[in-house]
Point group: D2
Chain length 360, copies 4
Amino acid sequence: MRRSYTQPARERRLPISVLGATGLVGQRVVSLLEGHPWLELAHVVASERHAGARYGEVVRWHVETPPPAAALDLRLEAPDFSGDLGSQLVISALPSDQARELEPRYAQAGALVFSNASAYRMDDATPLVVPEINPDHLAALASQRKQRGWRGAIITNPNCSTIGLTLALAPVQRFGLRRVLVTTFQAASGAGYPGVASLDLIDNVIPYIDGEEEKIEAETRKILGGWSGGGFDPLATRISATCARVPVRDGHLEAVSVEFERRPEPEEIISAWREFTAEPQRLGLPSAPQPTIVYRAESNRPQPIADRLTGDGMAVTIGRLRLCDVLDYKFVALSHNTIRGAAGAALLNVELAVAQGLAG
Amino acid sequence: MRRSYTQPARERRLPISVLGATGLVGQRVVSLLEGHPWLELAHVVASERHAGARYGEVVRWHVETPPPAAALDLRLEAPDFSGDLGSQLVISALPSDQARELEPRYAQAGALVFSNASAYRMDDATPLVVPEINPDHLAALASQRKQRGWRGAIITNPNCSTIGLTLALAPVQRFGLRRVLVTTFQAASGAGYPGVASLDLIDNVIPYIDGEEEKIEAETRKILGGWSGGGFDPLATRISATCARVPVRDGHLEAVSVEFERRPEPEEIISAWREFTAEPQRLGLPSAPQPTIVYRAESNRPQPIADRLTGDGMAVTIGRLRLCDVLDYKFVALSHNTIRGAAGAALLNVELAVAQGLAG
Amino acid sequence: MRRSYTQPARERRLPISVLGATGLVGQRVVSLLEGHPWLELAHVVASERHAGARYGEVVRWHVETPPPAAALDLRLEAPDFSGDLGSQLVISALPSDQARELEPRYAQAGALVFSNASAYRMDDATPLVVPEINPDHLAALASQRKQRGWRGAIITNPNCSTIGLTLALAPVQRFGLRRVLVTTFQAASGAGYPGVASLDLIDNVIPYIDGEEEKIEAETRKILGGWSGGGFDPLATRISATCARVPVRDGHLEAVSVEFERRPEPEEIISAWREFTAEPQRLGLPSAPQPTIVYRAESNRPQPIADRLTGDGMAVTIGRLRLCDVLDYKFVALSHNTIRGAAGAALLNVELAVAQGLAG
Amino acid sequence: MRRSYTQPARERRLPISVLGATGLVGQRVVSLLEGHPWLELAHVVASERHAGARYGEVVRWHVETPPPAAALDLRLEAPDFSGDLGSQLVISALPSDQARELEPRYAQAGALVFSNASAYRMDDATPLVVPEINPDHLAALASQRKQRGWRGAIITNPNCSTIGLTLALAPVQRFGLRRVLVTTFQAASGAGYPGVASLDLIDNVIPYIDGEEEKIEAETRKILGGWSGGGFDPLATRISATCARVPVRDGHLEAVSVEFERRPEPEEIISAWREFTAEPQRLGLPSAPQPTIVYRAESNRPQPIADRLTGDGMAVTIGRLRLCDVLDYKFVALSHNTIRGAAGAALLNVELAVAQGLAG
């Protein structure tokens, strides 16, 4: 996929670092930064042992389009937070255990860390942000800095399977979300590389992903909830998730049933989705999809193959809205797990922060 | 898969005919009849144009083990209900539109038709039977014969995605089934051959199967309901299904959430499943699995590859019983769609009828 | 995939018609024409029964990126060659049997038909053109017109599995091609839609594609051979092909062994590939890849997922050149079967003809 | 797959140990030993850290049928060659590096080691045996014992991709094998578990398997060659292999071209295959397929799904014999890589040794 940044480039693009740049999400970030009008890939950071090597020699590229030529020639750097990182934008595509250790050090040194890792998502003082839904949660950063004594900050984006659900629910949250039941059909790339063995996915489905159901349930409540000034108020909605891995490369599909407090008409729901526009669109963020949600009327959509690249992989495609005999309505949603659900999510958070004057 | 009929053969095995013998379900029936202790494949029936040809010349075999040598040499026959079929056992693996037309003619001519087609499943006078659950529904045959003036009868088995759900629910029906929500991951073979195009299933999921959700909902209510003597009393349970096709050859996996009237402990549910034994086991029907339900304690089971052949493909494997934040409990069930969900289901109905003296 | 035509648009773009516009290859043509600097999609032609309907209503879109908005609103037309089509460019993505009947009628009415069908590829008076290899074969059109009495013409492009082989061989043809043995791993999309059943490709390989081996052998000889003025002189090279279908969506991979008359060093072969540049590059044809051939030094390339979109799907990726103990050398080549192997091949032929002044 | 040992059990079955019993090949051996008439699984050996644990707790079962109940209760043992293993049969399913170290120690302690590992296959004093082809190579054991000072011995079976080729060639070796070119389509299970990542095999082919091409070429020459009394005389045939991994679970498919010294008629080749019977059949070895080679006349066979379980996975299925324009003939062969190509191969070697009185 070739990104289509149509905005003119800023006079001076802001330098950005990518932690975990050789991993599946890291390389997707590198790919999305190609031709970015506001940001310039300045540092690719990986583990100590690769420091000094060319990015192109070390990365095992899995994005479906060729790597940016400029990135291939960058030298990999070891993590470094010894100096003053005051003006540094950092996207962290680290595994959770490494993120837990390294991200606070970067934040302490002054960096603005936009993390795709799960380590701090549910932290009391760390915002978990989807720019279309809860940009106001960035207000928590003042508390975070005060509480931790950091000059920088950590801002997280949700798990790849949470993003589709929250973006589908946000526009209809006005009707009151009483209960939500979701069953996922998740792609192999969600597990990274090498991730799931081929013998587990040829002619098979694995109805279990470690920790995933808990993440969807907790993260959705936090994102759709509020920031009170002193803490996060998670939404009280009851949410139940079943997560399964299917033989698909990219694109998480989710079957969702919802019970509302004030049951709307189907047309109201579809309108709410189709008319949904939010902060990223108003701010004209370069990675913001136009629109965020595409509702398709065909009986058999969305499908991973047909819909995952909608909006350059940043939109959520929804279909099959119909009555549910157990809750009120049911529908199917799809989002690209490594773009909208990971690399693109972190990048959109960077853009939001830049547009709001937090950085640069 | 090689069947393991351990019973000694009867002195005289009953001849049986298979309608639609060359199709995916038909050939599975032919395969299951190999070495059957009670039944002998006597007639393979297909469309007029193949009449007279050897079965082996016409069938495009898709069962994973070689076709029975004896079957290959049988001559295909055109449908024939001109004479007195009084003692004839017939398994119908016809497409629904042909079943609608031909099955009543066979029944009128005296045949006992065991149909896998959907044509008459929801009919007022036709039993829809899962031998472990509602063998008593066979009592409806008296009404059927009277009402239609048939000497024979039509007995149906459920849709391939209904069977796993009903067998998982039957043992816990005693706790009262208030609401059931099911999301399916269905195999390609459920659509027959050629069925789903490979371009629709390589790296893809199709979240729609025409008519399937309605079938699961209606059939489950009928099977778990009663026969009053004058009609069927479907269960009042609210049921909601979402059906999707995944890149799997055989084995329908279902994620189920249930709300009970009297919420049991998890152990009670697991015990109910593990101890479930019913009419087919008591009667020692040759195709009855021992046990019908296998509950697995591993976190990542059932899976199509690992579990679809449990009980020679006639058992249902269940796993992941846990609390559901929306209804009471959730779990995952798996059954082989062309064995337990089609060919084996019809065959078990034949065996039940034979054991009860309806035939032979 | 989004095409990247970097050329400025001509003042007036030439109108072009697509026959078989709703098929898999036809829709790929429609997709490639989006934003084309020289050509404008003017007519989408399908069978009589769809005439008058919007393209968007009828097409079942299988390209991985959304259909061009303008195309969706075009009205489908029935085939029409009643008037004077003197200035009309036509790409035919018809099935071979329809192509056999309709293409000559279009040619007779004056159209320049660029056909992806096999119907006339091996015809005595019809050029089978790969612009990088045998643009001189277009000289055969004079004979064709004279012989058939046509004002227009038919120009064909090769079969999807021939293109990768011929482009890999053309740069090394100077060393003399004595014997060529090729085994293909062909993608599902090569069979069109619905094409191959999913039950034939999940967990399976089909080592047979009807007519394919003969096509590769004969077409390769014709393309690499000459046009004498009076007829085609096929290359005398002995070619043997084995063709198999594998569970891949797009991208035909080919394992090739070659025996030369004058055995070159490996470096000479790799240089010949890497430095290969030809007429389309010299003429700056909009769809010409730069370069046509990418040689990769990694041990495990090319692969369909990683390499099929190289050069916007118009390049051929080659790897694994090494000694062959039976012939001289062996290597692996990959090309995108519906772009370089079909839609893009026809389009490049149109561009060649336009650049050479045959049209417009 | 359920094995069908039809032989009556011996009075006393010989105890057998399996090294690497928890791996993919090891568990296949365990599965094949269920109900074996001559052999009884006595010891399951794995790495030190699992010693003492129940086999059923440690093994991650990947065979498509349930594990033998008796095996699940066996205690895993650490490798032990301290005592006198004089009468012990051992099947080694170890990785090559462990095999290199441990197998000689077992042989020194007196055990008869039947190894599936590649470590000693090409060793000067170690027979590489396919019972249908070169049972006479067992004569090399006398040299081996003398040279190494072992009381026991090591007997190897070929690589999973070699077996299909050698069994296809052996019956036609009488016509003189001048040149052989083979291209493989290999299954994921050939790489063990976890083996190949799903992201490398969904919608993809990998045209490279480390060391595989060299193994096929060298092993085939050794197996089809002779034992002179003092050393192995490999066949002088020129062999060239290209090996690729495809999205298939089990079953290696191979496209083969052959040049003969005395070119036979096609019927002679097919007869040679169909009439091929050898030592294992004559000796009535329990795992010997009847017949070893199945030639199928259909145009599109063999296929992994349809043919890999032929002869309980011990037969080789061949099809598509036709003229080759480069060598003399070409055809396609298929064998089950973890049964005939690994576990079953080792087991058949054990049976051969037992029947010849080498053991027990």
